[in-house]
Amino acid sequence: MGSWIWWTILGMAIVTYIPRAIPLTFLEGRELPPSIQNILRNIPFAVLGALIFPAIFFIQDNIWFGVIGAAAAFGIALLGANVMIVVLGSIAVLAVYSLFL
C-alpha cells in the first residue's frame, strides 16, 4: 500500500474521535434540562436492545448459531449469572452445537 493508506488511517482516526470526544468535553460541567437528562439516562438500555437485535441472529451464515446462541445467552442471564458466565456459557453451548454439525 502507498502513503495514501496512512492518510486514510489518519482521516478515519480523526472522524472516529470527534463524536467520542465532543459530548464528553463540551458537556462537562453543564447542567442539561431535566427532560434531556432523562432521555440520556434512557439511552444505555435502548442502545443494548438495538445492539443485540437483530444482529445476534446473524453471527454466522447458519442462522441456528444465532438462534441457539441468543437462547443460551438469555437463558443463562435469566438464571442470574454474571456477565462473564453468560459470555463463556454461550460460547460453550455453541461450541458443543458446532461439534454436532
Partner: protein, 230 residues
C-alpha cells in the same frame, strides 16, 4: 462506599477483551489478505479503534474506493457515538477536560455498554480507564497476532466465539430488566425499530442504531413524564 478504580475497571472489561479476541484476530487476517502490512493493520487498530468501521474500510479498500469516501463512511458509521458519549457524560464523575478527552478515545459500543450499565453514578475516571485499557489492549494485540499468524481459530471455535459480544450485551441488559418495565420497554422498542430498519433496508446499520435508540429513549421519556412516573 469506596468508589471503584482502575483494577475494578480492568475486571469489568474482561468480557469485552474476550469478545474482541476473535473479531480482532479476523480483522488482522482480513487486513493481510487485503494487502495491508503488519504495521499498517496494527496502526489502524491503534489509531481508529472501531471494529465495524475498520471492517468496512477493508472492503472499501478492496473495491478501490477513494480515501475521502472511506473516511466519510467511517464518520457515518461512528456518528452513533455522539449519543453514547452524551449519555455517558451524565454517568461519569466531573473531571478535567483533558482527562475526558483522553478516555473519550476508548469509547466503543462495548466499553460504553459496560460503563453505562454500572449501578453507581459518578463513575471514576480511573474505572473507565481500566475498562478501556483491557479492551484496547485486546483489540490491538489480537489485530497484530491475526496478521502475524495469518490464520484463524479452528472453525468451530471461531463460530462459537462470534456470539461473545452479543452474549455480553445480553448479560449486561438482563439484570437491569428484572422487575423494571421501563428498561424492558426501552430495549424492546429499540430492538423492534432497529429490526424494522434492518429488514426494510431503509437505514444503514450505523444510522439505524442511532435512530432506533434515540426514538425509543424519547418515546419512553414522553410516556413516563405524561404518566407522572419516572
Amino acid at each position: 462506599m469506596e468508589q471503584r478504580g482502575f483494577s475494578a475497571g480492568l475486571k469489568a472489561g474482561v468480557s469485552i477483551a474476550i469478545g474482541y479476541f476473535p473479531v480482532a484476530l479476523t480483522f488482522g487476517l482480513l487486513a493481510k489478505t487485503t494487502g495491508l502490512s503488519l504495521v499498517e493493520a496494527t496502526a489502524m487498530s491503534i489509531f481508529v479503534f472501531a471494529g465495524a468501521a475498520q471492517y468496512i474500510s477493508l472492503s472499501l479498500i478492496t473495491a478501490g474506493v477513494a480515501p475521502a469516501v472511506i473516511i466519510l463512511n467511517t464518520f457515518i458509521v461512528n456518528i452513533r457515538h455522539f449519543l453514547m458519549t452524551a449519555s455517558l457524560n451524565e454517568k461519569m464523575q466531573p473531571d478535567a477536560r483533558w482527562k475526558k478527552a483522553l478516555y473519550a478515545f476508548g469509547i466503543t459500543d462495548e466499553s460504553f455498554s459496560v460503563l453505562a450499565i454500572q449501578k453507581e453514578d459518578n463513575l471514576r475516571t480511573t474505572f473507565a480507564a481500566g475498562v478501556i485499557a483491557i479492551s484496547y489492549g485486546s483489540w490491538v494485540v489480537f489485530t497484530a497476532l491475526g496478521h502475524l499468524i495469518g490464520a484463524n481459530l479452528p472453525e468451530f471455535l471461531q463460530a462459537a466465539m462470534s456470539i461473545a459480544l452479543y452474549a455480553m450485551f445480553v448479560g449486561l441488559l438482563v439484570p437491569s430488566m428484572r422487575g423494571n418495565r421501563k428498561v424492558v420497554s426501552l430495549a424492546v422498542i429499540a430492538a423492534l425499530l432497529n429490526s424494522f430498519f434492518f429488514f426494510t433496508g431503509w437505514l444503514s446499520t450505523g444510522w439505524a442504531i442511532l435512530v432506533s435508540t434515540l426514538a425509543s429513549a424519547i418515546i419512553i421519556e414522553l410516556i413516563a413524564s405524561k404518566g407522572g412516573r419516572s
